[in-house]
């Protein structure tokens, strides 16, 4: 199978969906800066539109077009820019179908990158997907591989509900085997990235790779770690996670978000609720410290989870005294 970088896999999905369905549109600030842009050349000025720096109207307009029968994909570049338009993303798009008694649907995809720890500092680095969990009517996709990036984007575009699609900036050039042609990854299906038997590690985005690296290191110490990637946070596949914990009895959650805004906090609560009997030790979370992401490189590294912190958490969860 051919390899594609993560970013190219996402673009391939958008391109294939735009080929397949004329109602798919693409909006974004700077989405096409020259006439040679491949999307513009392929689909024309009607379907590929540059928007001004007006996130609220940009997204609201996309929601309105979705209500009127189109399927817009809005490129927002940075997760934090979504914050400008929270009314549209949380209060309008996901609630319209319900409030209308089911008369309408809002098939819009909001795409944004996150988590780039490269000195982009406090307002361009956040892992804020937690803000969108628990919003009824909204779906959240969070791919960690190139194949999943393609498959989740295609599914997102075909889904008749509003979808927030977060892609991790550190994964942008990460290559992976990506199926050619139509490829769809269903929402609500976690992936067991690395099978294991001693401990379950759940991680998202860039953290999946860190968790796998930690698992390899732990294997050298005789610990068999199972790594799970939920792939979508809404719908969230808690069944796979709980089934894993039923075998391993130990759970470590890894999340680049701050503690109370993390997906890991939600997963921990679900496992404590429905899987308590399987646990042989408390659940441990490895999240970012509760600070804005600092600019200075050593500080940036200090606040975020890494392989060492994951290994340390697993050791603590498996140690005999961890129950105290």
């Amino acid at each position: 199978m051919r390899e594609l970088p993560y970013i190219a896999a996402i673009e391939e999905a958008i391109r294939q969906e735009m080929d397949r369905d004329e109602s798919v549109l693409l909006f974004g600030q700077n989405i096409a800066t020259t006439e040679n842009d491949p999307f513009l050349a392929a689909f024309g000025h009607d379907r590929v539109r540059v928007t001004p720096i007006s996130e609220t109207a940009e997204i609201g307009m996309a929601v309105g077009a979705a209500l009127a029968g189109y399927r817009p994909v809005v490129e927002l570049y940075m997760a934090e820019f979504m914050l400008v338009a929270m009314d549209q993303i949380v209060n309008e798009a996901p609630r319209f179908r319900y409030m209308s008694g089911g008369q309408v649907k809002v098939p819009v995809v909001l795409k944004a990158g996150y988590g780039f720890t490269a000195g982009w500092a406090g307002q361009h680095t956040g892992s804020i997907y937690g803000m969108f969990m628990g919003v009824p009517g909204l779906k959240i996709a969070l791919p960690a591989t190139a194949a999943d990036a393609k498959g989740l984007m295609a599914t997102a575009i075909r889904d008749d509900n509003p979808v927030v699609f977060f892609h991790h900036y550190l994964l942008t050039l990460a290559p992976g085997e990506v199926p050619e042609g139509e490829y769809l990854v269903p929402f609500g299906q976690a992936s067991i990235v690395r099978p294991g038997s001693d401990v379950t590690i759940v991680a998202t985005g860039w953290m999946v790779g860190r968790a796998v690296a930690a698992a390899e290191r732990l294997a050298g110490e005789g610990v068999s770690a199972e790594v799970i990637d939920p792939r979508t946070l809404a719908p969230l596949d808690t069944d796979t996670i709980i089934e894993s914990v039923s075998r391993t009895g130990h759970l470590v959650l890894v999340d680049q978000a701050t503690r109370h805004a993390s997906a890991s906090a939600v997963i921990a609560a679900e496992v404590a609720d429905a899987g308590f009997g399987y646990l042989k030790a408390p659940i441990r979370q490895v999240t970012a410290l509760d600070t804005p992401v600092p600019y200075s490189k050593p500080m940036e590294e200090y606040v975020l989870p890494d392989e060492d912190k994951i290994v340390d958490a697993v050791r603590r969860v498996l140690s005999p005294v961890s129950v105290t």
Partner: protein, 338 residues
């Protein structure tokens, strides 16, 4: 790169025919229906059968009646929290609207939306939003969809003067003018944004002056004169193929911002002034003087409207509440099977 403009190659619409007896009587009847419906909603709210926040449009009937009926069947409307009048004028059945306000299963939104979120796709009412100005970009998106389809379809969006200071407004007007989209922005300027006057919100008195730099077609009319509203709206809707337009209607909100608002912030309008401004009285005087209808016909219009409202009350009161399992089914649209 220049901003993309998708031209509308179709022929411009003809403006609506000038008002004569039939149109005038129809407009009177529409305004009576809105007036009596709103007064009934107020009664039902005090009786505890309509819950939550309701924002009535008594005094502003001429804007709804002047704009909505002249839109074509395929045209779309977005409104806001003060939207009952627009809904009725657009053709949403009063019985299903009242059932919605009472939270019943036969409501247009099956009881799940309520006063601020009325949607009736069948009649072209695409939505109402509870966040001021949140409906503006939705209308822009709707207009874009019409343009992409090459349809001769206009989207009208209603909002108050309070919405004009929201970032939403400027962003939406900017986008609509940039892409030359067929949106008619209809501003009901009643001089108040909730509980404070326009002068507390902005230095620009006229909404039509706010949008001057965008170069969009705009007009300010006496919003209490339904015929003036209708004429202006007709011209603007006809020209909407070439780009967006703004119609500012100067009007008066007789009741409080919401039902229950003690209105300590303004003097009650004098009876004499209200007689001058009441859109129903304005049309009555004009119609009688012009010989468009008789006194008897105006009373019939009022009575017929009252009967229709009474029928709506019976219908809504008899409707059951929605079942609990309905809620879970409607949170998500079924995802398309891959």
């Amino acid at each position: 790169m220049p901003a993309p403009i998708t031209p509308n190659d179709g022929p411009p619409r003809a403006p609506a025919a000038a008002a004569g007896p039939a149109v005038a009587l129809h407009l009177l009847a529409t305004m009576w229906r809105i007036r009596l419906f709103e007064e009934e909603v107020s009664r039902q709210q005090r009786a505890g059968l309509v819950r939550g926040l309701v924002h009535l449009s008594v005094g502003q009937e001429a804007v709804a009646a002047g704009v909505c009926p002249l839109l074509r069947a395929g045209d779309l409307v977005y409104t806001g929290h003060r939207g009952h009048g627009h809904a009725i004028a657009k053709g949403v059945p009063m019985d299903r609207l009242l059932a919605e306000l009472m939270g019943r299963a036969d409501g247009v939104c099956r009881g799940l939306g309520g006063s601020m979120h009325v949607v009736d796709v069948e009649h072209g009412l695409m939505g109402a939003t509870g966040v001021v100005a949140g409906n503006l970009p939705l209308a822009v998106g709707s207009a874009l969809a019409a343009r992409l389809r090459g349809q001769d379809q206009v989207t009208a969006v209603f909002f108050g003067d309070g919405a004009v200071q929201a970032g939403y407004f400027h962003e939406s007007v900017n986008l609509a003018t940039l892409w030359r989209l067929p949106v008619v922005f209809v501003c009901e300027n009643n001089g108040f944004a909730e509980f404070t006057p326009r002068s507390a919100h902005t230095v620009v008195e006229r909404v039509s002056d706010v949008v001057a730099p965008y170069g969009l077609t705009r007009e300010t009319v006496d919003g209490n004169d339904v015929l003036a509203v209708r004429d202006a709206a007709s011209a603007l809707a006809a020209a909407a193929g070439a780009g967006p337009a703004l119609l500012e209607c100067l009007t008066h909100r007789l009741r409080g911002h919401y039902e229950g608002d003690p209105q300590k912030y303004r003097e009650a309008i004098s009876q004499a002034e209200w007689q001058e401004k009441d859109p129903i009285a304005v049309l009555r005087r004009r119609g009688l003087a012009s010989g468009w209808f008789t006194e008897e016909e105006t009373l019939t219009a009022e009575r017929t409207a009252a009967e229709a409202v009474a029928g709506a009350v019976r219908f809504a009161s008899a409707s059951a509440f929605p079942p609990a399992d309905l809620m879970e089914q409607l949170v998500y649209a079924p995802a398309e099977a891959p």
